[in-house]
């Protein structure tokens, strides 16, 4: 596997430079810091800020969701590594408009510890009120009884969207955090991986998947899944995923759901559509209504082949927040 990069150590900096070169009208770096990106969209005074942060290598996650109707800022780490608490604190400060900031991010050890430290820093030093909501949507990463330990994966995009819309409406911090948490209660994700990816600094895959095998439930950094099995057909794989998701969050006739089929990086859009076809058929037959399909690359692992499926069960409030306009250089729901 080859990468189109320059010095591996400059990978993240150069990606950030590319983003600013391309989208400098809509996002900006904080004081030129290539690890803190902020939205350039004017927001109303007193809007609750929403920030995220995490490792690089997952575009559009995380920073791709900074923009209108979504996030206010993002602290950017090295590939698959947490940003520092200092960068997070700077991001939080830059995004506070007097009514506090929600830290909304994936449940990973390094990110948790650094965001906790950052929240303490801005509390002590700047009197900024923060709340924290961690995304834990990956059903493969822990059983239901240990759901608190689950990792955050593609489902976080839905949480970003809902929280962003709620903040845009002018809701207070507690309410924005509450609706993000409510959304997450209705979000479940599981993925499958077909091939590994390469951290530029390491230069070779840090995990392996055999040529004829698929790893069910693998994490977006190559964390082990729940089963390694022989490669199967699209319908069989979709059936396994759907079964696992519905086992964790049952859906019944009359429910409304938005389904995300997310490519991890190397998987053709054609294959995502073949999987969506199966999910649509199965869920429709159950009497479930499918709205606002998200089919494409929303949370990736560089050149990893594979996909994840997210179910987001909607009530009228969540559906309205999902449909509210949002636009960043990497995401718009204008054509979803």
């Amino acid at each position: 596997m080859k990468k189109i990069i320059n010095q591996p150590g400059n990978f993240v900096d150069e990606v950030m430079e590319g983003i600013v070169a391309a989208y400098g009208d809509r996002v900006k770096l904080l004081d030129g810091d290539r690890r803190v990106i902020l939205s350039n969209t004017p927001t109303r005074d007193g809007k609750v800020g929403i920030v995220t942060g995490g490792g690089s290598g997952h575009l559009p996650v995380f920073l791709g969701y900074v923009g209108q109707g979504l996030l206010d800022g993002c602290a950017v780490g090295n590939v698959f590594a947490s940003p520092s608490a200092e960068k997070m604190a700077k991001t939080i400060k830059a995004c506070d408009r007097g009514n506090g900031v929600l830290c909304l991010y994936g449940n990973y050890g390094g990110d948790n510890m650094n965001f906790d430290m950052a929240c303490e820093m801005v509390d002590l030093e700047d009197d900024i009120k923060t709340m924290t909501v961690r995304v834990k949507d990956d059903v493969a990463s822990a059983p239901p009884e240990a759901a608190e330990r689950r990792r955050g994966v593609a489902g976080m995009v839905y949480a970003f969207k809902v929280a962003g819309a709620a903040a845009d409406e002018g809701r207070p911090l507690e309410a924005v955090a509450a609706v993000a948490q409510k959304a997450l209660g209705n979000i479940r994700t599981m993925g499958i991986a077909l091939s590994p990816c390469i951290v530029p600094d390491v230069g070779k895959p840090t995990f392996a998947i055999a040529d004829h095998e698929v790893e069910i439930g693998m994490g977006i950094h190559g964390e082990p899944g729940i089963e390694v099995r022989a490669m199967a057909s699209a319908d069989e794989l979709a059936e396994i995923i759907l079964g696992k998701l519905l086992g964790d969050m049952p859906l019944t006739a009359g429910d409304t759901v938005s389904v995300m089929v997310n490519g991890l990086g190397a998987t053709p859009k054609e294959e995502l559509l073949i999987v969506y076809r199966y999910l649509h058929k199965q869920l429709s037959e159950k009497g479930v209504k499918l709205v606002m399909p998200h089919i494409g690359e929303f949370a990736t692992s560089m050149e990893m082949a594979g996909l994840s499926v997210t179910l987001f069960k909607l009530d009228s409030e969540l559906e309205a927040l999902l449909r509210a306009p949002a636009s960043t250089p990497f995401y718009t729901n204008e054509n979803i």
Binding site: A81, S82, E86, G109, D201, V202, H221, P224
Partner: protein, 209 residues
């Protein structure tokens, strides 16, 4: 005697040991994690060492607070952040001191370990860096009366034994936790980093002797 001068030496020693073991730590972390351990430890201690070498600060507490921040900036990974916590915890004990004897350093290290436990929500026996740091810090206190050389020797031995003992444990924290009982039989990479710290410090002490 720990002072700004010997702290610089010590930090330099740890940084070079981590640089030497960069690849080894990467490989250990790859078995149950993402392989960044060698990168974060060598980058983190390199940055901390550079910081203490250029700082004019003589207050040990303030020096360590600075090192902690720089470390976190350079290596905000799980273990990097945990190392920052540790230095932050030590700084509280050493604040106001321009020098510290072995007993006080031991006390500071115990405080550093406590800070980790509080912030990372973990304790010895869970197959982490704590299994090296905690017994080492306690050994340092216990043997402080026997003189620096003996105390650090004991601490390094305790760290090494503690690290070895992680082989029999099952991971419950960090990425390794996803591997569940597959981690039994393998030594924890973070604990090896802990062992290397005390090995480096012990070497520095024995050189000074």
């Amino acid at each position: 005697m720990l002072n700004a001068q010997t702290l610089r030496m010590a930090m330099g020693e740890i940084a070079s040991v981590m640089a030497e073991n960069r690849q080894y730590l990467i490989e250990l972390d790859q078995r149950n994690g993402d392989g960044d351990l060698g990168i974060s430890m060598s980058d983190g201690f390199a940055a901390a060492s550079a910081f203490v070498h250029t700082s004019e600060e003589t207050d040990l507490g303030k020096l360590l607070v600075g090192a902690s921040k720089v470390f976190n900036e350079a290596a905000p990974s799980s273990l990097g952040t945990i190392m920052s916590f540790c230095m932050m915890g030590m700084a509280r004990t050493l604040k106001g001191h321009e020098s510290a004897d072995t007993a006080l350093v031991g006390e500071a290290m115990v405080a550093g370990v406590a800070k980790i436990m509080e912030r990372a929500n973990s304790k010895p026996g869970e197959k982490t860096v704590l299994d090296a740091l905690d017994p080492a810090a306690r050994a340092l206190c216990d043997h402080a009366g026997e003189g620096a050389s003996a105390a650090w020797q004991a601490a390094a031995k305790a760290a090494a034994e503690g690290s070895d003992s992680t082989a029999n444990m099952q991971a419950v924290h960090g990425r390794a936790a996803y591997y569940g009982d597959k981690t039994i039989g393998m030594i924890d990479g973070g604990s090896v980093a802990g062992k290397l710290i005390f090995e480096a410090l012990n070497q520095a002490i024995q050189k000074m002797d």
